[in-house]
């Protein structure tokens, strides 16, 4: 087939063309994504919570994920949007039932997704742009929101982060933006979100705004699993050795809450230091050369965390690395490094020595 021949030949074009094509928007257009995503008036309609008596054992989160999973495996669509939440601008990412059988079913927009989400549409959270945003029925937290567009298509979104001006600028600076471009980015972002708080936030803000967590008492337990990034035999052996453990004694939970509530997320400093090789290995457990960790050591010092709340909803985006002594989330959101005492306290909980 001629078009196939052309498609294969296209695959062999020069490397700099291929590389350049996906490394241009961060520098020049990255900030526009936020602007484009939020080009309209917003109007908070109401935020009353409908309580859904939980009959069975399944939590609302489990029911929700099970319902949209019917088409296949869970996946994220790599589509992000921004909506005003509290005094801030929150970034949400679309999630959908990916397609486990292969080609042919385009998950995010399939008619099934609207049908499957319908029973979970709760009260209106906000009307923003061309979408109406609903809470998930029976879920107090706004970890998930459901959007409805003008055509009535429902989409499920999961909270990722809050927009932070310093971080946007630090990223642009890292990508080589000039002072003029930086000023332009800052001006446009401010103009788009004139009243929003775009300062760095603490995880306490996320606990409070997104997850309704006011204190350690709202957390039932923390489950720590080994990092799965190293799947060599050696890596798997270490994963097995680390194992998955749940920590639900009140002391560990309180210590964890106290250590995380004031941690600063997504600031310029956290963004810049996440790219610094030196900071990455500040608490290296390497026996010899700091800069050359074996992959096993990295697995040993990293935990994927699931924080279970009283309602059964979980915070499952967090990872902890003892190497640089900090938390990070999907989407490259790093916290600022913790102080030394806190690092050793948390290592104590998770048994990282």
């Amino acid at each position: 087939m001629k078009s196939e021949r052309l498609a294969y030949a296209f695959g062999k074009i020069n490397d700099d063309l291929i590389y350049g094509a996906v490394n241009d928007t961060k520098k020049k257009y990255g900030w526009r994504r936020w602007i484009a995503a939020a080009a309209c008036v917003c109007l908070v309609v109401g935020a009353a919570v409908a309580l859904w008596p939980s009959g069975g054992k399944e939590t609302v989160q489990e029911q929700l994920l099970a319902a949209i999973k019917t088409g296949g495996t869970m996946d994220t669509a790599a589509v992000e949007t921004t909506i005003p939440v509290d005094s801030r601008i929150a970034v949400y990412e679309q999630i959908y039932a990916g397609n486990s059988t292969g080609i042919g079913i385009d998950g995010p927009e399939s008619p099934d997704s609207t049908k499957n989400l319908q029973p979970f549409v709760g009260n209106i959270y906000i009307q923003y742009g061309e979408n109406i945003w609903y809470r998930v029925k029976g879920m107090d937290e706004i970890k998930y929101l459901i959007s409805e567009d003008a055509a009535g298509t429902l989409r499920l979104w999961e909270y990722r982060s809050f927009l932070v001006m310093d971080s946007i600028l630090a990223q642009a600076r890292g990508d080589g933006a000039t002072d003029y471009e930086l000023a332009e980015i800052e001006g446009d972002t401010r103009a788009q979100f004139p009243d929003a708080d775009l300062s760095p936030y603490t995880y306490g803000d996320v606990y409070r705004i997104i997850y309704n967590v006011a204190g350690a008492d709202d957390i039932v337990g923390i489950t720590a699993a080994p990092s799965t990034s190293n799947n060599t035999d050696f890596g798997k052996q270490i994963q097995k050795q680390v194992g998955t453990h749940t920590y639900d004694d009140r002391d560990s939970v309180a210590l964890f809450y106290d250590s995380t509530v004031n941690v600063v997320c997504n600031s310029a400093a956290s963004w810049e230091s996440s790219y610094s090789e030196k900071d990455k290995y500040i608490y290296s457990f390497s026996t010899d050369d700091d800069d050359k960790l074996t992959s096993g050591e990295e697995t040993w010092a990293t935990r994927y965390l699931t924080i279970t709340l009283r309602s059964g909803t979980t915070i499952d985006s967090w990872k902890y690395t003892a190497l640089s002594g900090r938390f990070y989330e999907f989407g490259g959101i790093y916290t600022e490094p913790l102080d030394e005492d806190t690092v050793y306290a948390i290592n104590g909980i998770f048994g990282i020595e």
Partner: protein
């Protein structure tokens, strides 16, 4: 870890090379494959096959840019798999769309020419792309090299989907004219 350090690990036959590659380029390669196959499982298999190909080809190869080196491998592997599925009538989505869009670029047939060598075709594509303004060029490559959906491209550049579609349409016609001028037959 820097690319040259990772390549060094390959040359030392150190298995940590694979881990380092997976950490740095796992999601990049997965995205390319997923855009073609629309299946996480298939993409995952292609990613693993890509690491294997890299392990077998480095050395003797020492690529300047590891990302595109791996990208080219996985794009080929994924297209091969797509072809196989398509033959089994299981293929749809972006890749089918991409192929039907590329039909627009195919020069009209004449009696004289023989179909060209792939190297000549690739060189002509390079020429065409370098002659384009940067943004148009990148949009074209995002669509036909990375197979990104129109919606994602529009969003990345802060332009409407309609504008993206019509820009691509015009560029396909330009490419067709370019290939015809060069006397290239497919």
């Amino acid at each position: 870890m820097k690319d040259n350090e990772i390549i060094e690990l390959y040359w030392e036959r150190n298995e940590a090379a694979i881990t380092a590659t997976a950490e740095k380029y796992g999601s990049y390669c997965h995205t390319i494959s997923y855009n073609i196959l629309h299946s996480n499982e298939d993409a995952e298999e292609c990613v693993n096959d890509t690491w294997l190909r890299a392990w077998k080809s480095l050395p003797p190869q020492r690529p300047n840019r590891l990302s595109t080196y791996l990208g080219k491998i996985i794009r080929n592997l994924s297209l091969d798999r797509f072809k196989q599925y398509n033959a089994e009538k299981r293929g749809r989505g972006q890749t089918g769309l991409m192929l039907s869009e590329l039909e627009d670029c195919i020069p009209a047939e004449t009696d004289v020419e023989q179909s060209v060598d792939e190297m000549v075709l690739v060189e002509s594509l390079n020429q065409f792309l370098y002659a384009q303004p940067e943004q148009k060029r990148n949009i074209f490559i995002r669509r036909y090299w990375y197979l990104y959906p129109i919606r994602d491209i529009a969003e990345a550049y802060g332009i409407s989907e309609n504008k993206t579609t019509s820009l691509l349409f015009r560029m396909r016609n330009e490419l067709k004219t370019h290939l015809e001028k060069e006397g290239i037959m497919l």
